[in-house]
């Protein structure tokens, strides 16, 4: 059966001599994997349409609910090649792709996640070089909010007490001193959050994305928030994101 859909390439993996397995975030089928025959041969008609982050219109061939349909046609809607040609942009978007792949259930369609991801690609492509670090982090915060995994960074997540500045990765929220430790469970490791981080984080989620360039966090705030998010994600996934190790390794 032939089906057509629209998708963003999240990942392409070599398979055999010249074939590829492509993982797409689609508009109407959620996350799917599909198989492309010989795209790595230079004369392949697929051209660059199977490269990560490409927004494409694809035709798939396979039995209904086949776990690995074959890609028969793939036309580029937007290549987003500028992102792949900017090292930091690509590393950052790889991290977002990995979050989507790890935290959204496969084959459960979500128009919202698809259009969000597409917006982020446009947003990063058009952002100014000196604002990239902030924008990468804003994109990640908003992605977590969109898929329902944003941590709570202000107020106590249990009793609502306002004076709560300690984030507990194990609970995914800030907690007040009373709720953080009970006689039955001793205090767990936490990260102290300051007002600048809370301010930047809250506005990242609440402001329209096209106005987010007005947020001007300092490097310390970015570093602290990205540390909090990394700990939060490590707890959610019970492992470190592969791409986050990459960023640490790429630091010059």
């Amino acid at each position: 059966m032939q089906t057509r859909t629209e998708g963003i390439v999240l990942r392409s993996q070599k398979y055999g001599e010249a074939d590829l397995i492509v993982t797409y975030l689609t508009s109407d089928k959620g996350i799917i994997r599909a198989f492309a025959k010989s795209p790595r041969k230079t004369k392949s008609r697929f051209g660059s349409s199977l490269e990560p982050l490409t927004h494409t219109r694809i035709s798939l061939w396979g039995k209904e609910h086949s776990s690995m349909p074959k890609i028969t046609q793939s036309d580029i809607i937007n290549s987003f090649h500028q992102i792949r040609e900017n090292y930091n942009d690509f590393v950052s978007l790889s991290k977002l792709s990995e979050i989507v792949l790890s935290l959204t259930p496969a084959e459960i369609p979500s128009k919202q996640i698809f259009s969000f991801f597409l917006n982020i690609l446009h947003f990063i492509t058009s952002s100014e070089e000196d604002q990239k670090d902030a924008q990468h982090l804003i994109a990640m915060v908003r992605l977590l909010a969109t898929i329902g995994y944003a941590p709570r960074l202000s107020g106590c997540g249990k009793c609502g007490a306002e004076e709560s500045y300690d984030f507990y990765p194990d609970s995914g929220t800030t907690l007040c001193a009373k709720c953080a430790s009970t006689p039955l469970s001793p205090a767990k490791p936490f990260i102290r959050i300051n007002n600048k981080v809370i301010h930047f984080y809250t506005h990242s989620i609440e402001w329209p994305i096209n106005k987010s360039n007005r947020l001007k966090p300092n490097d310390q705030t970015l570093l602290e928030l990205s540390g909090v998010l990394d700990r939060h994600l490590s707890h959610l996934l019970s492992k470190k994101l592969r791409s986050s190790e990459f960023i640490a390794g790429a630091c010059q």
């Binding site: 999240l10 990942r11 392409s12 993996q13 055999g16 001599e17 010249a18 790595r40 230079t42 004369k43 008609r45 051209g47 660059s48 349409s49 490269e51 990560p52 580029i76 290549s79 090649h81 792949r84 040609e85 900017n86 090292y87 690509f90 590393v91 790889s94 991290k95 792709s97 990995e98 792949l101 592969r242 791409s243 190790e245 990459f246 960023i247 390794g249 790429a250 010059q252």
Partner: protein
Amino acid sequence: MSGNVVENLIEELTRLPGIGKKTAQRLAFFIMGMPDKDALSMADAIITLKQKARFCRQCFNITEDELCSICRNSSRDRSKICVIEEPSNLIVIENTKIFNGLYHVLLGALSPIDGITPERLKIEELIKRVKAGGVSEVIIATNPNTKGETTAQYLSQVLKPLGVKLSRIAYGLPIGGDIEFADEVTLSKALEGRNEM
């Protein structure tokens, strides 16, 4: 019992890239029909390869000695290093007979989502070679895809401060192809990399 022996070989052959169950069956029966001498010499070639082949200490090409034949060849231009992903790329570039410098095989390409970090490739070794001096140009010939491009950009970040001339092989259209069937990215790269006539 004899069924198991054939099954075994089929199983082993399917480990090879691009070999499915059917092809493996065909190959297994072909090998069975081969003269003993030929089949044994084929098996022997695999054993010898695994026993003797190793990576060149300098460029990570495959060799039987400490240094590969290219690194040992005194007529090669030692001021140029061509950086490639896999030893198999070296053979293809050598076949063009255009390049007379030395190589550096990274043994892979960077990929954040797969956790392939710079530490997992032979990048530190390349930096050491350049730092050791005598190198005037590094030609980056990683694949024209995302992983190759990410690797090229990382290399440019770490090598530029060393003051060496850096170049990247041109992106272009496949010869024998037709502009009409080229995708926009390939075509725009080919236009950017145009040559004066």
